[in-house]
């Protein structure tokens, strides 16, 4: 659905994105992770033809961007760096204006589609009020409605839950999962690890303009070959496991060996009680921190 090769953008001498090779497949919920200023938004803008790449190629829905923007973009819904509207007009009027501005927005079905979308994002009751009276969360919902109004095949969302309360975040997450289940591919750019972890199937991590990893979430969180153990009798356990303990943190021990059952038998055999036992999995946070930290060791010049 999205494929970039050697995508590079320099603003004068500053390199914002360099050599990016993205691969987003159909039906993915792709999490594009990166810290603030890592080049996420510049990348999103290049995918949508707003910012023109210095070099490299972009393919969206099988066509070259930005050359084929007029055929690609009608099939894409997007939220770029926060929603934007005409404040003096109502939410409904705003959606109608954007829908009428471009292709693929049938006038006949417009008001029905808009009502349905406002309903879906939970704005049906306030769709008539001017947008300047909306809260940040309501604007965010309206922005999402605007992206969805023409049932796009690909959704490109930049920080979609920004400004939403926990309830709103949950609703939007359910909505995105439902859309994905119905066949929409979702490209989600975010700096929120938890959001990506809960929603995405594939993850790309960008750090200072370079893609440091791109893999399925399951692979990134694969067992590490070590076992996580929690016991009230730390000292005894450490004595028994003599040398196999990699690290300890209070009652928690990380032990070499990927077989929790073997470890359990060993400890219980020695009369050590075990609270918790299981293969160690790294959280996405650990993966990302390790990858970006490794890079800062290698790339930072004195």
């Amino acid at each position: 659905m999205i494929r970039t090769e050697g995508l590079t953008k320099r603003f004068r001498s500053v390199s914002a994105v360099s050599g990016l090779d993205l691969d987003v497949r159909a039906h993915d919920i792709y999490g594009f992770l990166g810290a603030n200023g890592s080049g996420k938004t510049t990348t999103v803008r290049m995918l949508l033809g707003l910012v023109l790449a210095t070099s490299g190629s972009i393919e969206v829905l099988g066509h070259q961007m930005p050359k084929a923007a007029s055929t690609v973009l009608p099939r894409v819904g997007a939220l770029v760096e926060g929603p934007a509207f005409y404040g003096h007009l109502s939410g409904q009027a705003n959606l109608a204006i954007f829908d009428a501005s471009g292709p693929a927005g049938s006038r006949r079905t417009r008001s029905a589609r808009i009502h349905e979308m406002l309903d879906t994002v939970g704005l049906s009751e306030i769709g008539r009020r001017p947008v300047k009276a909306y809260s940040l969360g309501m604007r965010q919902r309206l922005g999402l409605a605007a992206a969805l109004v023409r049932a796009p095949e690909l959704l490109i969302l930049d920080e979609p839950t920004n400004g939403l309360d926990p309830q709103g975040i949950h609703e939007i997450r359910q909505l995105l999962l439902e859309l994905n289940r119905l066949g929409t591919t979702i490209f989600l750019s975010s700096h929120l690890l938890a959001e990506v972890e809960q929603l995405c199937t594939r993850v790309g991590v960008i750090d200072r303009g370079r893609l440091v990893v791109q893999d399925s979430l399951a692979n990134l969180q694969a067992p590490t070959g070590r076992t996580m153990l929690s016991t009230p009798e730390v000292a005894t356990a450490m004595a028994i496991l003599n040398g196999r303990v990699v690290s300890s943190d209070g009652p928690r021990l990380i032990v070499q060996g990927a077989d929790p059952a073997e470890l359990n038998a060993l400890l219980v055999g020695h009369g050590v009680r075990v609270d918790e036992l299981g293969p160690e999995r790294r959280s996405l946070e650990q993966v990302v921190l390790e990858l970006t930290a490794a890079r800062s060791d290698h790339t930072e010049r004195p």
Partner: protein
Amino acid sequence: MIGVELSKLFRRPRTWLTLVLLDALPTVVAILLATTHLGPRPGQGPAFLSAVLTNGSLFAVAALAIVLPLFLPIAVAVVAGETVAGEAQSGTLRYLLIRPIGRTKLLVAKLISVFSFVMAAVVLVAGTGFVVGRLLLGHQPLSAAVSSVSGSQLTPAQIAFRTLLAVGYVGVSMLGVAAMALFLSTLTDSAQSATLGALAFLIGSSLLLTLDAATSLQPYLPTRYWLSFVDLFRDPMLLRNVERGIGLQAVYVAILLGAAWANFVTKDIKS
């Protein structure tokens, strides 16, 4: 797209406020003239103002002459400066472009909406001038002949026709400012900067027109032929400066729109 741009422009309360303010000045002048009967002496003050006390129909043209030097170009610069920079400022520009609307198409739609505003403003000022003039000033019958600037008599039909020409000419005269504001509007993300830049261009031009040392530049200044619409009320019509004025505006419009287009289609939209 063009329909959408027009509806955006005319659904904005500010557009109507601008038009009302634009009509307020000539109306105030008409009220003052009607209550005091102190018209400027012929040859002084804004064009036609001395004649309107005898024939109110001429106040349509007089109203144009009143707003032409400053009020009208300011209104045009505000609206044209808003076009692209205003959308950039509010963030809606990126959503329009990914809708998608081709950049050239967006620029053309903006240009047409600005031109529509200019024409609406000019027609409204002339119309208000006519109504206010008929109501408050010189109660001559509509059929009465009017003295031309050259002194001979013009029939009401001739006056009506020439007033229409003047409306068109004043509209065209504003296009240079509009194109300048539109160009600046593609350069900056601040609507105010674009408007003020276009006004600086205008004031610079007006200033150089008063300077003898700038004589060689004067035929090329955008405001040089603005007041030439007065020539339309000579007998016979003196078209030389009007033609030059139209030609000059066309050149400014072509150059500035070319620059606006070249800048906008290759610009990184970071707003």
